[in-house]
């Protein structure tokens, strides 16, 4: 399990897991999970198109990921960008389907782009993934505070002169970069589940932003390692395990929150019962709106 071609698999998958855990933290924080779904799909279409005309799939992937990320950023400038994201997603899926229909002989390669090819990574890919990974991590380390600020209190950030839209564009570019490095390894669909499952679970376990970020990385790595080992043992697709484990961690996180809340509720209930109804009476009885 740790010999020969498997070594590359472990290394690359670990790098992808670390980066997905970090970027995913901000993806979830900014409510951009949908974007993290659309951009890898666009990357998939780009890679399919590139292999069709015989250029590097990585280039096609990166180009399409960047184009889709930036169009989401620019078209969705005002407020919520979910409609624009949906449109990008549908458009890119359509394009991917078209390229797919033109190139039946690449079916297995296409399958790998969707579900990943962890067990067949080349040494060249290790280097490319590492380089892109370093760029992504550096970008997030530099932008950590402004990203946090603009995610949580965008209006207050804007008021003090932080360019929130510029920050959003930076973030989307990083998502495109992460996509480019990860899709060839874990595939478009799994990329998405890593970027949302792990950070979504992590935030349930801690109140501190940096701890949540670290935990997100830890969970992401744990998911990927377990998935590879399980896939190696069972011969089932890695993707299946990544998806299932992501959901398992997320649900465990929710369970933990619910359990803590009920535990806290039992302690609190005696103290708070007396003040509750009285406050209600003051609020409605004396502050009533005139008719």
């Amino acid at each position: 399990m740790f010999s020969g071609f498997m070594v590359n698999a472990w290394i690359v998958a670990t790098m992808v897991a670390v980066v997905a855990g970090i970027i995913g933290f901000f993806t979830v924080l900014r409510g951009s999970a949908f974007v993290a779904h659309a951009v890898p799909q666009a990357g998939f279409a780009g890679a399919a198109g590139a292999s069709l005309i015989g250029v590097s799939t990585l280039a096609g992937l990166g180009t399409f990921a960047a184009i889709s990320a930036l169009s989401i950023g620019f078209l969705g400038k005002r407020g919520r960008h979910d409609a624009v994201t949906a449109l990008t997603l549908v458009f890119m899926l359509g394009l991917g389907a078209l390229f797919l229909s033109w190139s039946e002989e690449y079916a297995s390669a296409i399958y790998a782009l969707l579900f990943g090819e962890v067990l067949g990574v080349s040494s060249n890919q290790v280097l490319a993934t590492a380089a892109l990974g370093v760029v992504c991590i550096a970008a997030v380390v530099i932008l950590y505070r402004p990203l946090l600020l603009t995610s949580v209190v965008p209006e207050m950030a804007e008021a003090r002169g932080v360019r929130t839209h510029r920050m959003e564009l930076c973030f989307l570019v990083v998502v495109a970069l992460v996509t480019t490095m990860s899709v060839p390894v874990v595939g478009a669909l799994l990329m998405f589940s890593l970027m949302v499952g792990a950070p979504g679970a992590a935030r349930s376990f801690t109140d501190k932003p940096l701890s949540a970020l670290s935990l997100s990385v830890g969970i992401s790595v744990a998911i990927v390692w377990t998935a590879i080992a399980a896939s190696y043992e069972t011969d089932w697709p890695v993707g299946f395990f990544v998806g299932v484990l992501g959901a398992v961690f997320f649900i465990a996180g929710r369970g933990w929150v619910a359990w803590r809340r009920s535990a806290a509720g039992r302690v609190d209930s005696t103290g708070h019962l007396a003040t509750g109804p009285m406050q209600l009476a003051t609020a409605t009885g004396m502050n009533g709106e005139p008719t």
Partner: protein, 283 residues
């Protein structure tokens, strides 16, 4: 924040708007608005929904550029990037699950615009603790922001704005979703802050009564026009009738002021939101 690095001169003019008009999408949203704010003073920006309060804040913050008139900050045309103005918006639409404690949110007010991950530092932590203490938030400093009550969140946001040592603090409807007790706490806190740090504080509200005990001046807004000055000089029948463009009654009931439209008034609904009929009778 017991020390004030910028002592600030009381009564020093911090901000002034001169003849500010603003057109947006072909409509005149603000018309010839003029007022000034002084250090150490708390000013109420009073008006019903849609009167133009939030727009005035956006003009002060430089997020909207006036079609006419001037905005002067400490005597100079204001610059866009400025930490000298603290702003607490009407609602921040917080995700309840965000992994952030009250103290983290306050710390972001200090250096949230800087690059890099902050290293743990004692002086930074001390500063955060001081500001938390100043807004009486030590009790929930380590609670997740999504779990705070309306009043607690309001105080945390005030601390977030305050830690950057602003000279002007803008609060958009900070009392809108608070019960009476938190309302009084927040109002008292803001009055204390204005005096202690010699900050000019501008608070918008659609109801002026909660602010009456602490308000040094009022800017009364109706349909994009404003009248400003000491409360007793502005909240008068002649001034407000001129502002609204039709007769209004100003009634003093106990310690409260009710602004009521005249009998045969067509603009009745707009005024209704500005008055309160039932006195609170808390003391």
């Amino acid at each position: 924040m017991t020390d004030t690095s910028r002592p600030g001169v009381r009564d020093e003019e911090i901000l002034s708007l001169e003849g500010v008009s603003l057109w947006l999408s072909g409509r005149e949203i603000l018309h010839d608005v003029a007022f000034s704010l002084r250090a150490g003073e708390l000013t109420g920006l009073i008006g019903s929904n849609g009167a133009g309060k939030t727009t005035i804040f956006r003009v002060i913050l430089g997020l909207e550029t006036p079609s006419a008139g001037k905005v002067l900050f400490a005597g100079h045309p204001r610059q866009r990037r400025s930490k000298s103005i603290g702003y607490v918006p009407q609602s921040i639409g917080l995700d309840p699950d965000v992994p952030l404690r009250a103290r983290d949110l306050v710390a972001l007010g200090l250096d949230g615009d800087r690059f890099g991950i902050p290293l743990p530092s004692r002086s930074r932590r001390q500063l955060v603790d001081e500001v938390l203490e100043a807004v009486d938030a030590q009790g929930f400093a380590d609670a997740r922001v999504g779990k705070l009550s309306g009043g607690e969140l309001q105080r945390t946001l005030i601390a977030h704005a305050l830690i950057a040592k602003p000279r002007l603090l803008l609060l958009d409807e900070p009392l809108a979703s608070l019960d009476i007790r938190s309302e009084q706490e927040v109002v008292g806190l803001l009055a204390k802050i204005a005096k202690a740090h010699a900050i000019a504080v501008l608070i918008s509200a659609h109801e002026m009564n909660p602010l009456l005990p602490v308000m040094d001046r009022v800017v009364y807004v109706a349909s994009g026009r404003a009248a400003s000055g000491p409360t007793e000089e502005v909240v008068r029948e002649d001034v407000l009738s001129a502002l609204y463009g039709h007769h209004v009654d100003v009634l003093h009931v106990h310690d409260r002021i009710l602004v009521v439209a005249g009998k045969d008034e067509t603009h009745h609904t707009e005024l209704e939101r500005t008055r309160t009929v039932v006195p609170r009778g808390l003391g």
